[in-house]
Symmetry: C2
Subunit: 138 residues, 2 copies
Amino acid sequence: MTPDEALARFLDARVAHLATADGRAVPHIVPITFAVDATRIVTAVDAKPKRDGHLRRLNNIAANPAVSLLVDEYDEAWSRLWWARADGVVSILDGGPDRIRALELLRARYPQYETVAIDGPVIAVDVTRWSGWIAGGR
Amino acid sequence: MTPDEALARFLDARVAHLATADGRAVPHIVPITFAVDATRIVTAVDAKPKRDGHLRRLNNIAANPAVSLLVDEYDEAWSRLWWARADGVVSILDGGPDRIRALELLRARYPQYETVAIDGPVIAVDVTRWSGWIAGGR
């Protein structure tokens, strides 16, 4: 899968998986909603912290900004399997126009945010590599 | 979600996401098929290596055995969201009865392996923590 195709898969997907790792290289993984802004992927932390998951994600990012994001779809017909990955470096948007833009993109993409507050920080991943795999080659 | 409920979600799921990290704590993430054997999750590396993904996963594990696995389902009704996670430590089964048992479990779970060879190593994750989250609390 070419980098452009991987990006296109992210544009189509509704959920991604975010892997972070702490300073001791212990990985952590959570599903996230997200929006793509050119070479950046943004995702929000809901107002209501989910026990353990959200805090750990933010602690890991503070210790180590390298992250990996994946979108994929499982199919019992393995000839239809694919995945796309975005590797990058995180920054936390806790204010300013970048955060406002990220929230606009997230709200435009997910009508659910009309009733779910986004008070927490926004995580922005500057993607350094788009890659992917599709069954049957390419 | 209790540890037992998290385990039950893994038993039901057809695909999981595996996060590893290399020695420099750079995370990596791939979707995997898997089987659960008591407190162990096993997954195979297909005969045909997928460019980059499979090798990197094995290199990461060799450098750093800490891994995290996630199962989840996205739903546009966010009140139905959930995820379950298994954190643990990996070993590579490259022969012996443990590998044979793992392959039996994988073949029993996925009829697709009748036509997909498993010649590569089997990865076993000894789970040290089952956890999870379900919308609406618990």
